[in-house]
Amino acid sequence: MLIRLLTSIKTSLWLFFVGLLFFFAGVLVIPKTMQLYSGIVDVLLFPWLLEQGFSITWWIWGMILTMGLIAFNTAVCSVDTIIKKKGKVEIIRLLAPQVVHLGVLVMLLGHMLTSVTGIRGEAVLREGDVFQIKHETGFMVERILVEPSSDAGVTWEVRGVWLNEDTPSVIKPSIPIYRDGVWLFIKSADTDPLQTILMARGDAGVFFMWGGSLVFLLGSLMFLLVRLRSRTGLV
């Protein structure tokens, strides 16, 4: 009975439906307290959730629980399908949806890692200042450039060096630098006074997110091939 429930696609559909409701709740709740929620990215999610009252975070807990159940249901369904259909259907037809599922599971794992562990830091710095991120990792700002740009109005650039390293590094908007598990981003820069805000992030989850995305894409391509073949018989 329990196995049948766990491997049923109807269970998946119900979970998706509940998931949609929690996403919808998020859409309604977030704009009312935008300031509160926009700050979550600067802290770790789970410690933040524990600090806040349940009246604020109920829908996030609900979403996490639903996503967890979806992940479990997906894994069980995939294993069950492979066991039941192995040798009975063509291998690509059998594996394509499972690879898509695997990609989603890895992405969810990435989200989980991002929520529980990592580094979050930010500092206002002037030329010559050092941003000490963790014990042996720091970055010295040598030069801050704020220049006009034809399409963006202004552009920023921060030049400096990682401590204990001679090679100069350049940080630009959307082009962070990476060392020892730490990403360093430019958040803003100003001329009066000449200073910049740098942001440090250590996030192991992001690699799982991107890895999961690649697996998902691979599965999707396999899936499309199967669909194309069954529709046209050409491939």
Binding site: I9, S12, L13, F16, F17, G19, L20, F23, F24, G26, V27, L28, I30, P31, M34, Y37, S38, I40, V41, I70, H111, T114, S149, S150, D151, A152, G153, V154, T155, W156, P173, S174, I175, P176, W183, F185, M199, R201, D203, V206, M209, W210, S213, F216, L217, S220, L224, R227, R231
Partner: protein
């Protein structure tokens, strides 16, 4: 002007084959003009995104299979609506410093492509629901599947862009949640339902069609009815 040529497509097959290419030429010239003015691919502001969606929908009409249905009766109004709405959008012409990233352009382009494919799928679904050939429902499934995948690719590129720009691949905004809701609806609900052998025909077609209002709200509702940053994409 392009909209007038697009609307003429509803006057019959011959009119469609003549007026749509002319409309596309006029519209294409406008897009090229915008690209030259901006000095980049025009996918960074609402005006251009709507215009591009309209252009691609009409371009698709020339290549998709229309032999057994009345899909043009839905694609033409959709494309005309987007073109018409683009007229009322504010011209920004500058781009935020964090948006000057190839990942952003990939995100925006695939999102447009996803929207267009979902639009075509919906048009096939509506055509089927109004009594056309069963094949229309299969086409609906095909295009919604492709559209959903393009949306997934867009979200992936978006997560890369967002992380490299803002240090987080996920932001707690109504916009992000609604887009995820649309993705979950098509992938989680529609496609999974579609793979239940007994679930096909009109209920399946209707379920597919119902995703489009969600997608439209993502574009026109979030940012206006519900406040959210990044609501222009």
């Amino acid at each position: 002007m392009a909209v007038i040529f697009y609307a003429m497509a509803l006057m019959g097959e011959r009119a469609l084959k003549l007026s749509v290419p002319v409309g596309l030429l006029v519209h294409g010239a406008y897009i090229v003009h915008r690209a030259m003015l901006l000095g980049r691919l025009p996918v960074t502001e609402r005006l251009d995104i709507l215009s591009m969606m309209s252009f691609l929908l009409m371009a698709a009409l020339l290549v998709i299979n229309r032999s057994k249905g009345r899909v043009e009766y839905f694609v033409v109004p959709m494309a005309s609506f987007y073109a018409f709405m683009s007229i009322f959008q504010e011209e920004v012409n500058t781009v935020d410093v964090f948006m000057r990233s190839p990942w952003f352009y990939l995100y925006s382009s695939f999102l447009i492509l996803g929207y267009v494919l979902l639009g075509i799928g919906t048009a096939y679904g509506l055509s089927y629901l109004l009594g056309d050939d069963d094949e229309m429902e299969e086409y609906e499934h095909d295009y919604l599947l492709h559209g959903w995948l393009m949306l997934a690719v867009a979200l992936m590129f978006g997560s890369i862009w967002f992380f490299l720009a803002y240090g987080s691949y996920w932001y707690w905004t109504a916009r992000e949640f609604w887009l995820s809701l649309v993705w979950l609806y098509y992938g989680g609900v529609y496609l999974h339902c579609r793979y239940i052998t007994s679930f096909n025909g009109k209920p399946a077609a209707l379920l597919g069609v119902l995703g489009y209002p969600l997608m439209l709200f993502n574009y026109f509702g979030i940012g206006t009815v519900i406040q959210s940053p990044w609501s222009q994409f």
